[in-house]
Symmetry: C2
Subunit: 231 residues, 2 copies
């Protein structure tokens, strides 16, 4: 359904510039014949920790969380990310199985290409390989940086940090609907749910944010930045 006689829709995909910029039209055509698109509703799982990796997947639209389960059974959220960051990411070239799970926080569309196909392309096309490596490196750097940033802060600093993360990186808006529960924020920053809520209430009381259910408005972004920096 995605084809119209010979003209592949991947040609015009925005993603082409992100990882597939070094492919000529022939290869793109080929890619298109190997790809599959999958729509996911909020909450659906895209990859399961421990599952065998057979596809190269990337997020075309939506929002996802990357997480793993600790031995004691609770969830540890590694990052929350928008399209153009990979989904079945890092481990593709290092592990046979997923290290982490990925699930949709909003309705999402994922593109999948057989891993074998990507690997062949990688071997044949140096430019593609370089582009892919750079992209993967950027993503890894970002995750590591984020984790270190968070680790070094205290409770209020961490909460301020995620609020800023949503404001600037995810929604690019001072008003947004929280895509996660309070508990998920807690799992993300490594704090207890009760204290995350308490801190949000404090921010609200101090006029730094306004809260209407899931909707958050950052009222005083400078103050939030200060708290994030010094917290």
């Amino acid at each position: 359904m995605n084809e119209k006689k010979g003209v592949c829709i991947c040609e015009g995909c925005e993603f082409r510039d992100v990882v597939f910029s070094h492919l000529d039209d022939n290869s793109i055509q080929d890619l298109c014949n190997h790809k599959e698109e999958q729509s996911l509703s909020k909450g659906e799982v895209i990859n399961h920790e421990g599952e065998k990796i057979s596809n190269f997947k990337y997020l075309k639209s939506g929002l996802v969380k990357l997480y793993r389960r600790t031995p004691s059974g609770d969830e540890q959220i590694i990052t929350i990310t928008r399209p153009f960051e990979f989904v079945s990411n890092m481990s593709i070239f290092s592990e046979e199985r997923y290290q982490y799970s990925v699930s949709a926080l909003e309705d999402s569309v994922v593109c999948m290409v057989k891993l074998e196909f990507i690997k062949e392309l990688f071997l044949k096309n140096g430019g593609f390989a370089m582009g892919l490596l750079s992209k993967i490196s950027v993503i890894n750097d970002k995750i590591i940086g984020q984790t270190l940033d968070i680790r070094q802060k205290n409770l209020v600093g961490r909460v301020a940090y995620v609020l800023l993360y949503f404001t600037r990186e995810i929604y690019n808006s001072r008003v947004f609907d929280l895509p996660v529960s309070r508990k998920e924020i807690a799992d993300y920053i490594g704090m207890s749910t009760a204290n995350v809520i308490r801190t949000l209430s404090d921010f609200k009381r101090e006029g730094i944010i306004r809260v209407f259910g899931k909707t958050i408005e950052v009222a005083d972004i400078e103050k939030l930045e200060n708290i994030s920096r010094h917290g």
Copy 2:
């Protein structure tokens, strides 16, 4: 001084199997002419955070720590690692400048190759590219995994974790000389120095480890594993 008329010593380097296994003898020769070896004493800095990246560096022998400085000025240790893990690692293909500093915890030898040369090789030789990507991915996975492991534990669990890390990953021996100060352990696991020391004293008192200055002997590794798991 590393050459003997035409025969390149890189040919026999153990590292060849790690990243350079897909290079034929010609390329190895070429590589060898572009490489430079650097000996570093304990404490010397190999890469400075913020410095421009111009070389692909890897650790041939020794032990290094990867770290960054927080805005407030204290050190955050990202990982401690042996040879065959890269040194000027991750960011090579994603950033123009080092995100992290690297310094020698023991006397070390580092091999350096002009980054441009590696990039050319990467573009020309798919097998090499694939090998390099896999290696980088493994390293990134390891760092992320380690960080998540640590984050999820409490004080005693973290201390047990690093002791096990030294025992199994770094020294492969139940007796070893700590290559880092107590403060560095604290910077590694994100706890205060005093509490790291206290915990080590507790372990000593309970007969789990024996301590002679910098020398540590893990006396009861099962107990340590239990603490690390449940802590």
